[in-house]
Symmetry: D2
Subunit: 79 residues, 4 copies
Amino acid sequence: MWTEQNNALYAKFSFQNFVQAFGFMTQIAILAEKMDHHPKWTNVYNQVEIWLTTHDANHTITEKDRNLAAQIDKIFKNS
Amino acid sequence: MWTEQNNALYAKFSFQNFVQAFGFMTQIAILAEKMDHHPKWTNVYNQVEIWLTTHDANHTITEKDRNLAAQIDKIFKNS
Amino acid sequence: MWTEQNNALYAKFSFQNFVQAFGFMTQIAILAEKMDHHPKWTNVYNQVEIWLTTHDANHTITEKDRNLAAQIDKIFKNS
Amino acid sequence: MWTEQNNALYAKFSFQNFVQAFGFMTQIAILAEKMDHHPKWTNVYNQVEIWLTTHDANHTITEKDRNLAAQIDKIFKNS
């Protein structure tokens, strides 16, 4: 699901509607704050695009990004 | 899933954790505001209890409550 | 704002409408998960009631509850 | 606050932290679904960028966009 794009992990998720998409985002928001690692993300209606990169590591992909990506995948599977 | 309790539709939902429970609540919040019909609900960790009643109809169960209950069931099935 | 009620810190918050109330709840949800300390809370439209107690400490009020209450007050002041 | 950018109303909002930013987004999400008019928006930590345009009107700025922008401004003032 995730690809590398300009030193970031990137994935795009599609849902049936906006409500489902925002329910997904809310779960990610809670986990991201807990991990103290926040995504760049864009939403339009039922689409959510996410970019994960580590600013503290000179804008590269680190273990933090891979961990958050794995958590996001779990949330998506349960959506 | 829903039972009648003191002139309200009542149901209790359980999740794997708080994050899933709150993702469920957020989806309901969006729909409830859209339907202009809001639940009474209580959350503790992975548990969400919901009571639906219609204040404008002298605190009885109406079509509005049954509609919101059906929407909540759909969200739950996709959680 | 907070009083003691059955071994829990209790407070009731009122907002202009449901949207504000749920925005407040979302912020608390994010912080509660981060602190790994979750409230019991009930919402009806623009009202949010919160009970804070520590299950691991034999259902008494502890520093964890006082910390979360202080965070909730900060969020409320910015609402 | 809002400027026109490629046939969309655009604004950028800054908050003290991620929690406040996501509380703001949640309130907008609820109203957007109610108005059946959804933003394109991007969030990174405490920053929220929003683009409003009307797809049904050949991707131009309409009254729907101006209404949602006004609602967003109200939410921001109360944040």
